[in-house]
Amino acid sequence: MKAITEPDSARGTPSGERQRSRRNRQWLRQWGRTVRPWLWLSVATGTLSGLATLAQMGLMAWLVHGVIVLDRPLSELHWPLLALVVAILLRSVGQGLQGISGARAAMAVRQGVRQALMARWSQQGPVHLAGQSPAVLAGEWVEQVEALEGYYARFQPQLWLSLILPLAVLALVFYLDWLAALFLLAAAPLIPLFMALVGMGAERLNRQHFTSVTRLAGHFLDRVRGLTTLQLFGQDRSAVKGVARASEHYRRLNMRTLRVAFLSSAVLEFFASVAIAVVAIYVGFGLLGYIQLGPAGELTLFSGLFVLLLAPEFFQPLRTLSQHYHDRAAALGAADHLLDRLQPSVSEPAPATDHRAPLPDRGPEDAVTVTDLVVRYPGRGRVFDPVSFQLPWGQSLVLTGPSGCGKSSLLHVLAGFYPAAEGRVSLFGAPPGRVPVAWMNQRPFLIQGTWADNLRLVQPRATEAAMEEALARAGLAQLLAAQPEGLDTPVGEGGQGLSGGQAHRLALARVFLAPVPLMLLDEPTAGLDPFTRNDVIEALKALPGQGITLIMASHQPELVAMADHQLWLGQNRQAPAPSLAGEAPHG
């Protein structure tokens, strides 16, 4: 069980850590390649906006120079003024387009990843997923995938811009005054160094942060679902304290992340501020003629002001990048989780095939053939001794034995959720997972929606009449008649609003609605009162005669009596067992 929920054995060791983070980065880049046109558009428009900004600064410096130094009247300067307005418009439009195309890239990735995750769930199957909280998985599917947004919408394009634009600025400043360019250059290499140092810490912390957020969500949902239980044991107050502790823990974790994350932007802020200060003082003293070194003597108000205005622009793309750095860290943290979900873990059985076969014609005489079947669970070992039986078409078999003897496991194998460790299983001549099978659990699966929604789950095009008939056969005719909204009567999550028996029946009604050759029932009458149970058993009795083969796990005497055959799975099974007990005594 541990191995299923914690596939991160590589975590903790430094080399494993590095390997993981490399794997995560690669995964993010792979997805980036699928949306390359949008990313390039974002970079191109961002570059346009950046270059327009440089033009704006130059024009402003030129206007100031023209008026102050050259004493030109403002009326002669309308062309540069017009150019200034155009530059600002280009800058604005470029900025807008950069954002829009980034958002498109993020959307495409989001959809792709969600699809991949969903495919993975079905690949893993219900048995393997049972150890994981659906709320946590669904939360990841919604939130963690959304955490990828910033990486593609903002960080990736900005990464390129923070390379292109500073170089453009540097070239320009170099042309204007190479000494000033050297000041900028001196600060520049330090920046990636600091960013890398800070970024590495931020990434690790961010991963912790994401784990804690997801765990917190699971913790909450679990406590809320169990509120009644907590109340009954007088633990509701201490649970409030538990929630407070969890929240406080979350705050501390968060602050640890932020303290480091903000440090990266502070470093840049520092360099940007210092560069402006140094350039201003250099240009000022240069203009005064205090500096005789290199090009300082040739500084004019135009070149001096231009250089000053360019100095913040040199750092601006990097500052923006550092603002988006948490996007990267968030995406890497999300990638770490999502990749764990997407990659098969060691303990996982081979994925069940999901090739859909056509409904079998009434071909082979034996519908279900099981030969020397053995099931093993990691950590629990062999569930039962080898099992063999043959069940002809349209007959019913009941599996009995003490709880925990593997009745459910056998049904899981037959449904194709879990592979057989040894032996062979054939359903209508095909391996499990090829033919549609009706499955009913101890907890009837009901979705939020109407009765009709629940029925249409297995038969999307079912008519109202068919649904009403199925409900009647499941013993719900009376209840349906009492509902003013009829088939549109809502059902809450997990069947809220229905009694236990009614929820079972609603789920059972699907069996009567969808054409399936085999039905697997796991404790179908658990929790039903004698009245309802008798109804359900009556309904189930109608099934074998209709060519539907039935296998159920139960120790309900009525069901045992009802079945054509019985198979005892308990410990004291004589080996080799006369697997089928033959006709069970009726009555």
Binding site: L89, Q98, A239, L457, A507
Partner: protein, 563 residues
């Protein structure tokens, strides 16, 4: 806006922290403005001085004070930025922590029925996502526009020292831009961002559904259809989100055009003022650069305000939560329940939604009596138990212990005297030990093993590698149905109640296990009162008296097996 008012009120309980944070933000902005304006002023002043020197004029310029000022602003900008961000995020997280706890506390005070009516996964959303969304309130929606406003006013004030008329023009222009990127953006993105939260909610609910029903869907080969549905829903949500981000990007473009437009405006005005001799050259440069530095305060606004609707929607949902009915009344002076007494339903009535389950119900459970009540599902057996456990209040009559109505008793004391196994007792996604210790946090390992032995789980569990630390999984899914049920039952043995209520204690247990469990239950119940609920007598421990609760809500003598 009205939806946000209660939350603004809550923010105000930390107003000094918020004020300090806002001042730090303003300090950062003003340092930036100071740095750039002073630098521009300094360069131009030196340039003009150099020109004067070149023309042979005697001019002098103090260079050390401006130089020191520039260095000072460079430092304060860095430090105040770092402190501001750290401090403000800490404030917000403190607020969020307060909020979460408050919400959970209010949830835990709701009666069982109201709790059941709300779906757990939506509750979770209320508790985490909605509250998280509200951090936008201060850090993204409240403080930044105020700081931008403050910066704008100071900028206009500073400009008014030199050029009062143009300063007013600048003020009007910038206020219009501010309005555009806050209010107009909020309105433009309102519909899309409002539905974002509910759509994400729907996605999550459907995804949980698919995961919980994976077995049924996969076996039935209906999974693909459900997947397609979910993906279609996802595409809708995702493209709407993309549109919203797009609007944010347009807002970003508007900010650039608006603020840089103001810069051009100021530049033209100062250039002409200079030529008219109204201002000096350094001031001519200083003022436009001030506007340029101000742009920083505006740049984050459209991106934040386009998401205004999501904060509003989150606040609306949380408000709704606070207004939920169905709270259990707390007596002013609670009475201590008698150690052992008769439990009596007196003229008790209860209705669920529009359906009346029973009315005028009279029933007495004598001290130490074992009373079994059987009947079909939906007749109200569980409600009878919920009334006795005081999970819900009767809407007519009362339920009394030793003649005192339950509502007058100290709830905690009453809980400690009762032990209840409900039909769907919850197993927490934790270890076996943690699930047992819900009943008694101080129970020793030995006590846990004893309790497990009484429900025939000890042998099975001791065979597992992790023993008591074996995780039970979500909903106890790592256990079989019977194992989970017995684990829930084992909790009761860790308590010492006067009244035991068992709702279908033996469901899902096979003969041998059921016999083992019943033997220990009979022993446990011998000195206590017990209310045993089930569908048939055979599935209950030994009872002194058996009654039938019909679908009509009437209690009659039990005549024998149904059917």
């Amino acid at each position: 806006m009205g939806e946000l008012r209660p939350w603004l009120g809550l923010l105000m309980s930390r107003r000094w922290r918020l004020l300090a944070g806002g001042l730090l933000m303003a300090a950062t902005l003003l340092s930036g403005v100071g740095l750039l304006t002073l630098s521009g002023w300094f360069i131009t002043a030196t340039g003009v001085t150099a020109l004067a020197w070149a023309a042979g004029l005697a001019a002098s310029l103090e260079v050390y004070v401006p130089g020191g000022g520039i260095r000072f602003f460079a430092l304060t900008r860095t430090v105040s930025r770092y402190l501001e961000r750290l401090y403000n995020h800490d404030t917000v997280l403190r607020l969020l922590s307060d909020l979460r706890v408050q919400m959970f506390r209010s949830l835990s005070q709701l009666d069982g029925l109201t709790q059941a009516r709300y779906q757990a996964s939506q509750w979770l959303n209320r508790l985490t996502r909605d509250i998280d969304t509200l951090d936008n309130l201060y850090l993204r929606l409240l403080a930044p526009p105020l700081v931008a406003l403050l910066g704008t006013l100071l900028m206009a004030l500073g400009m008014a020292l030199f050029l009062p008329g143009p300063a007013v023009l600048l003020l009007i222009w910038l206020l219009l831009v501010l309005l555009l990127v806050t209010v107009v953006m909020a309105l433009w993105g309102r519909r899309l961002s409002r539905t974002q939260v509910t759509r994400a909610d729907r996605l999550r609910v459907r995804a949980i559904e698919q995961l919980q029903g994976l077995a049924e869907l996969q076996a039935w080969q209906a999974l693909e259809a459900h997947q397609q549905q979910l993906l279609a829903l996802e595409r809708g949500q995702s493209s709407d989100r993309c549109r919203l981000e797009g609007r944010g990007a347009v807002g970003q473009a508007l900010v650039v055009a608006g603020v840089q437009g103001a810069l051009v405006l100021v530049l033209v005005m100062t250039l002409s003022a200079y030529q008219q001799g109204l201002i000096s050259a350094p001031v001519l440069v200083m003022l436009p650069l001030g506007v340029m530095a101000l742009a920083e305060a505006y740049s984050a606004l459209p991106g934040a305000f386009v998401h205004w609707g999501s904060s509003e929607a989150a606040a609306a949902r949380l408000n709704e939560q606070g207004a939920l009915a169905g709270r259990l009344a707390t007596p002013g002076q609670p009475e201590t329940p008698a150690p052992m007494a008769a439990l009596a339903w007196r003229q008790a009535g209860f209705s669920h939604d529009t359906q009346r389950l029973f009315r005028g119900l009279n029933l007495t459970l004598a001290p130490g009596e074992k009373l079994a009540i059987v009947g079909p599902s939906g007749a109200g057996k569980s409600t009878l138990a919920a009334l006795a456990a005081r999970l819900v209040e009767p809407d007519q009559g009362q339920v009394c212990w030793g003649g005192v109505p339950l509502w007058a008793l100290d709830t905690a004391a009453w809980r400690s005297q009762t032990a209840v196994l409900t039909q769907n007792a919850h197993l927490f996604n934790d270890t076996v030990a943690a699930n047992l210790r819900v009943a008694d946090p101080d129970a020793s390992d030995q006590a846990l093993w004893q309790a497990l032995e009484k429900v025939a789980l000890a042998q099975w569990l001791s065979g597992l590698e992790l023993g008591l630390d074996t995780p039970v999984g979500d909903f106890g899914r790592q256990l079989s149905g019977g194992e989970g049920r017995r684990l829930a039952l084992a909790r009761l043995y860790l308590r010492n109640p006067a009244l035991v209520i068992l709702d279908e204690p033996l469901t899902g247990l096979d003969g041998a296990t059921a016999r083992h469990v019943v033997r220990h239950l009979d022993e446990f119940l011998s000195q206590r009162s017990a209310l045993l609920l089930g569908h048939e007598v055979a599935a209950l421990p030994a009872a002194d008296r058996v009654l039938l609760l019909t679908r009509e809500g009437a209690l009659t003598e039990w005549a024998g097996e149904a059917g």
